[in-house]
Amino acid sequence: MIDFNHVTLEYPVTRTLALEDLTMQVARGEFIYLVGHSGAGKSSFMNLVLKRALPTRGEVRIAGEPLSRYRGRRTPLLRRRIGTVFQDNLLLHHLNAYDNVAFSLRVIGVPQREWPQRVTTALRTVGLEHKKQALPLQLSLGEQQRVAIARAIVSNPPLLLADEPTGNLDHENSREVLKILQNVNLRGTTVVVATHARELVETFRHRTLTLRKGRLVRDDPDGGYSL
C-alpha cells in the first residue's frame, strides 16, 4: 500500500533533514505504528504520503503508483484515497457533526442523496450517531476526534493516516479512539498511526516502526515500544 524506496526529505527552507534514506513497505490491510521522539520525522512521513512535501531523493509509491504521477491537478485524486486524522481535529467549528462529516463528501462531489446514509454509517462507526446536531464546541475533545475519524472514513479511503490522534486525549478517550481505528482496520483499511503514547502501543499491539532523527532504527512486527 505504501512503499518508500530510499527516501530522503530535506525541507528546502530550513535545510533540516527530516527523513534520511528511508526504505519501508506497508502492506494492504496492515495496521502500523510510527513512533519516535519529537522531531524524529513522523509527521514528515505523513506529509510525503499526502504529497504535502516532495522527497529530496528517492521514490514514494502509494498503491503501486509513484507519487510523481500525481502531478499538479491530480494531487486531489491522491488525497481522496487517503483519510487523515490529526492531533488538532481540524473540524469546521461552524458546522455540526453531521455537516462536518458530510463536508468530506461534498468536497469530492458525492451526490447529496447518498449523504444521509453514508454520514450516519460513519458516525455510527465512531459511536456518535446521537450527536449529529452538536457543534464541535459542544463536544468533548474525544468526541471531536471521533467526528474527525468519521469524516476521514466516510469516503471509504483504502488508507487512513492518523498523526498523533490521541495527543490531546486522556487515557479513556485514547483507548476509545484506538479501538475505533482498529475497527476501521478490520474492515480492510490500511491504517498508519504516528504516536508518542507508549501505553497504547503496548496495549494494542501492532507492527511498530521506530524513527530516530529521520532514520528508521527498528521495525518490530510484533510491536512494543522501545526508544
Binding site: R73, P76, L77, L78, R80, T84, L92, V107, I108, G109
Partner: protein, 287 residues
C-alpha cells in the same frame, strides 16, 4: 452550484468592507469610462458634421482661366466637390445678409472676386489642399475653415486621451481592489480551504465561491453604473437639446445601447479575471 453561491454571498457579507470598496472603485471606474466613451461619441459626431461643412475657398484673379481651374481642382485627392461662385452670386449672398452691401457696390463697383468653393473629405486635408490651390495660376488668395476646426479637434483629442488615461489608471485600481478583496476572503476561509485540500478538493472547487463573488461584484457594479450613466446621459441630452439645439448630441438608442452593454460586459469580465488571477495565485502559494 447553490452551495458555491451561498458561500460567495456569505464571504461577501463577512468581508463587507473589502467588497464594498471594490464595488465603489469599480462603479466609479465604469462611470468615468462611460462618460469618456459617450463624450467621444459626441465629439466624433460633431467632427463629422464639421468636416462635412468645411470648405476651402479660392479667391480668383480677374484673368483666371475658370473652367481649367475648376476641372483641375476636382481631380485633387480629398476634394469632395468643387463649384464656382461668380462675383455676382457672392454679391447677391452678401446683399442678402448685409443689405447695405448693394449700396456700397453701386458706389465702388462689385468688390468681390470670383470664388472657387471646394468641399474637402477630411478636415486634416484642408491645409494641404489649400496650399496646392494657392500655387495655381489665377488664384489670388485661399481661405479654409480649419483655422477654427484645428484647435477644437486638438482640444477634444486631448480631453479624450486624458480620459482614457484616467480610465486605465482606474481599471488598474479596480483590479488591485478585486485582487485584495479575494485574498482577504480566501484568507478568512483559510482553515476551511486547508481542510478542503486535505480531503481532496480540486482547485476549481475551492475557488468557485470566489469566482462567483468576482462575477457578482462585476454584475452589481455594471447594473449601478449603467443605470446611472443611462439616466444622467439622457437627462443631459434633453437639456442640451433645449439649450443648444444645433449641437448634434447623440440620442439614438441603437448607438448608445452597445456602449452601455459593452461597459457592463467589461465590468463582469474584470470581476471574473480579477478573481481568477487572485485565486490561482493564492492556491499556487499553498502548493
Amino acid at each position: 452550484m447553490m452551495y458555491h453561491l451561498r458561500q460567495a454571498l456569505l464571504a461577501m457579507r463577512a468581508n463587507f468592507t473589502a467588497t464594498f470598496s471594490t464595488l465603489t472603485t469599480m462603479t466609479i471606474t465604469l462611470l468615468v469610462l462611460g462618460a469618456v466613451l459617450l463624450l467621444t461619441l459626441n465629439v466624433n459626431r460633431t467632427l463629422e458634421q464639421l468636416e462635412a461643412q468645411v470648405e476651402v475657398a479660392a479667391f480668383l484673379k480677374d484673368d483666371a482661366n475658370i473652367p481649367a481651374l475648376l476641372g483641375q481642382v476636382k481631380l485633387y485627392q480629398g476634394v469632395h466637390d468643387a463649384r464656382l461662385v461668380s462675383r455676382e452670386q457672392v454679391l447677391a449672398e452678401m446683399t442678402r445678409d448685409y443689405p447695405y452691401a448693394r449700396d456700397a457696390a453701386a458706389l465702388a463697383g462689385n468688390p468681390f472676386p470670383n470664388t472657387l468653393r471646394m468641399r474637402v473629405e477630411r478636415v486634416q486635408d484642408s491645409r494641404r489642399i489649400a496650399n496646392i490651390v494657392q500655387a495655381l495660376p489665377g488664384v489670388a488668395t485661399v481661405e479654409y475653415g480649419a483655422n477654427y476646426v484645428d484647435p477644437a479637434v486638438k482640444t477634444l483629442n486631448a480631453i479624450r486621451t486624458a480620459g482614457y488615461g484616467l480610465v486605465a489608471l482606474l481599471l488598474l485600481g479596480t483590479l488591485f481592489n478585486i485582487l485584495n478583496a479575494v485574498r482577504v476572503a480566501m484568507f478568512a476561509r483559510r482553515n476551511e480551504i486547508g481542510v478542503m485540500r486535505l480531503l481532496g478538493a480540486t482547485p476549481a472547487f475551492i475557488r468557485m465561491p470566489h469566482l462567483i463573488e468576482g462575477v457578482l461584484v462585476g454584475l452589481i457594479a455594471a447594473v449601478v453604473s449603467v443605470s446611472v450613466l443611462a439616466a444622467s446621459y439622457l437627462e443631459l441630452a434633453k437639456r442640451v437639446a433645449q439649450l443648444v439645439p444645433v449641437f448634434p448630441i447623440v440620442t439614438d438608442l441603437n448607438t448608445i445601447a452597445p456602449i452601455l452593454v459593452g461597459i457592463a460586459l467589461l465590468s463582469i469580465v474584470i470581476g471574473l479575471l480579477g478573481s481568477l488571477f487572485a485565486t490561482s495565485r493564492y492556491l499556487r502559494e499553498l502548493e
